[in-house]
């Protein structure tokens, strides 16, 4: 009887494996930030859900968290579960070495998307990312092109240590350090929180310090800053006293740019899933990945040149 039971179990297992092989599904573990984080993330998560779907031959396991440690343990769990590929958009750039090494030991190729991780290049198969530093550079170049006699900047930062914050801060810090007529009135983090951004700008207005540029590292914080300007009766946007700059290209933010109440919005493309899927297909077919680092093409929108068509095409969310 025992023998029979064993035989039966063994048979079942073979059957299950056979079914698994027959379906030839590729299992991917996706570690991302939650869609509720921002309009950007919502579009990003939707993009991955659409591409890594059952119709496209994938079985996707997903985990969403804003916290690095939760993401780390989820990634470790995916490795233990034996996924074929691991896709990661990290909450923070550091602390990933051990998990990535463990993936490598288990022969699981890792793809980084959206955000880079601070680690040895050997630890991942490829990275499809937004070049945050380039977004900062584009924004600063645009600001230089405005040829103001003096730049007095309120710089509102995102969550300290995030890739977006580091990239978007870097270019501005460099420009301010190298130019005499560029100065930072205040540099403060609002951790992506709109209401906090408003309080920071209020504090500057109350101290009666002069400023003519708001450089906010995402749209929400720019909106908070603008609310403070509105309450204090300070004009902003095209022809206003203060230049307003945001990032991410939410639809509502681009509409502000089109209306001329904001001056600039930097794009951050959330569409990386298709590129990664192509790479996985190449690996499955026995090929090799040629370029290890793929950078999404991005641009910035100026109030003077933006059109409704831009909003329809590049705007995120609603």
């Amino acid at each position: 009887m025992k023998k029979f039971a064993r035989l039966f179990v063994a048979l079942m297992m073979v059957c299950i494996m056979a079914i698994g092989v027959a379906a030839a599904e590729i299992t991917v573990g996706i570690v991302n930030n939650p869609p509720s984080e921002s309009g950007y993330r919502e579009a990003n998560v939707k993009d991955f859900e659409a591409v890594f779907s059952a119709e496209n031959g994938y079985a996707a396991k997903t985990f969403y968290s804003l916290k690095n440690d939760e993401q780390l343990s989820a990634a470790q769990q995916f490795i233990t579960d034996g996924v074929d590929y691991l896709l990661i958009s990290a909450a923070e750039t550091t602390g990933w070495d051990a998990v990535l090494a463990s993936a490598q030991e288990n022969g699981i190729p890792v793809f980084l998307f959206d955000r880079m991780i601070d680690c040895d290049e050997e630890l991942y198969a490829a990275a499809v990312v937004s070049d945050m530093a380039n977004q900062g550079k584009l924004a600063v170049e645009w600001l230089i092109a405005q040829a103001l006699p003096e730049y007095k900047i309120i710089h509102i930062q995102g969550a300290m240590g995030s890739d977006a914050q580091i990239g978007r801060t870097g270019a501005l810090d460099k420009q301010v350090a190298e130019n005499e007529n560029w100065s930072i009135v205040v540099q403060q983090t609002a951790t992506w929180d709109e209401a906090e951004a408003k309080k920071i700008v209020e504090a500057v207005i109350n101290s009666k310090e002069d400023f003519n540029i708001i450089y906010a590292e995402n749209d929400g914080m720019a909106r908070g800053a603008v609310a403070a300007l509105d309450e204090a009766g300070i004009t902003h946007g095209v022809g206003g006293k203060v230049i307003v700059m945001g990032f991410d290209c939410n639809r509502w933010a681009l509409r502000e740019v089109l209306a001329g109440t904001w001056n600039y919005d930097g794009q951050c493309s959330p569409f990386q899933a298709a590129v990664i899927s192509d790479m996985i297909k190449t690996l499955e077919d026995g090929g090799a990945i040629e370029t290890k680092l793929v950078i999404s093409e991005e641009k910035g929108f100026d109030a003077a040149t933006i059109t409704q068509a831009d909003i329809d095409q590049y705007g995120l969310g609603e």
Partner: protein
């Protein structure tokens, strides 16, 4: 302590000494640093209304949500001897309901009222959920509310679907910033109204007394005909209502809701406000005024740090140092020591007077 209470009338208010002291500390520090820190001015906002400006206005305005949530948190703390850590999530759910209703049609005063009522009902339902876990199932408040703390923001997200839905209307701006013609920010007025309502409730009902009784000794309360379960549930319902109001204010400020960052970590600040307010975190005696003052102290601290341009990476560390100071000063050990010192000084003063009289 009881002997003291019968001696001085003002000793009823000694509890407020700690929050008042901490506010005073921040005020003096700021006046030394920049004498014009608290000056209030008037200006015209971009809508053409005359408005009050200045750090004092910013502090009172910015602390509105915290002050309102701290009111409810005080009641829960007093009745249950524990804290609700889901208030941020709960306020976000309430805000999300508010936004959902306003987005379903034209924004009018009527639809705002309907939205507000719905979000109150939603928040009180979730409050009742927390309250039931705590009162009926006797789960530690922090553990019971951990459920909503974990999933609340996801629920808020489901209600609206989008990541950062916006609602644009002059009426919403009036709630979140200024009513045309009124120079005082509306959130400050809302806090005053809430305080008034709560004050009247305490004045004309036995809710305050019963809450305190349940917090000090449940069994004694039951023997005296008070239903502890009911009182605990009521405290969570009141907190739910407070969260609903705070949620509506927060959403109206920028006519936008961000489910992940809205009122983030406000639960910690609210608990801190209750602690600074001199309330026993283990339940029992409480003073809502203390918590509200505590809320303003916390916001004053943050605003000060912003005004001082403390580097963004260091803000939390500075905040922590000040908080340690305040909490140590208000600790029972230090309180006892100061009490002893005070009685010694008091014992000497009449002695001196007698000498003078002779």
């Amino acid at each position: 302590m009881k002997a003291h209470a019968s001696k001085f009338k003002w000793s009823k208010y000694t509890q407020l000494l700690v929050p008042l002291m901490s506010i005073l500390l921040i005020v003096i520090f700021n006046l030394l640093r920049d004498p014009s820190f608290f000056s209030i001015g008037t200006s015209t906002n971009n809508l053409g209304n005359p408005v009050l400006t200045g750090n004092l206005v910013s502090i009172l305005n910015g602390a509105s949500e915290l002050a309102i949530i701290a009111m409810g948190m005080t009641l829960v703390t007093a009745a249950c001897g524990g804290q609700d850590i889901s208030v941020g999530a709960l306020a976000t759910i309430a805000g999300s309901v508010f936004v959902r209703i306003l987005r379903s049609g034209q924004i009018t005063i009527g639809s705002i009222l309907v939205g507000f009522l719905c979000c109150c009902v939603a928040a009180m339902l979730f409050g009742a959920f927390n309250g039931t876990l705590v009162s009926v199932f006797r789960i530690q408040p922090m553990i019971a509310t951990l459920v909503l703390f974990t999933c609340g923001r996801s629920i808020a997200y489901w209600i609206n679907g989008g990541a950062t839905p916006t609602i644009s209307s002059p009426l919403i701006t009036a709630i979140g910033s200024f009513i045309p013609g009124c120079p005082v920010p509306t959130p400050i007025i809302i806090v005053a109204v809430m305080a008034l309502i709560l004050g009247l409730v305490f004045r004309f009902t036995t809710l305050g007394l019963y809450t305190q009784t349940v917090g000090i000794n449940q069994r004694a309360a039951r023997l005296n005909g008070i239903n502890p379960m009911f009182i605990k549930l009521v405290s969570f319902l009141v907190l739910g209502l407070c969260c609903a109001v705070a949620g509506c204010i927060s959403v109206s400020r920028l006519s936008l809701i961000n489910h992940e960052t809205m009122l983030l970590e406000i639960e910690m600040d609210a608990i801190l406000a209750v602690a600074i307010g001199g309330n026993a975190l283990g339940g029992g005696k409480f003073k809502v005024t203390g918590s509200v003052l505590g809320a303003y102290a916390i916001q004053a601290l943050t605003t000060t740090l912003y005004a001082m341009k403390v580097p963004s990476t260091d803000v939390k560390a500075y905040k922590a140092i000040v908080i340690i100071l305040i909490v140590v000063i208000s600790s029972p050990v230090v309180k006892k020591a100061t009490n002893r010192l005070w009685t010694k000084i008091r014992a000497r003063i009449p002695a001196k007077k007698e000498v003078v009289a002779q």
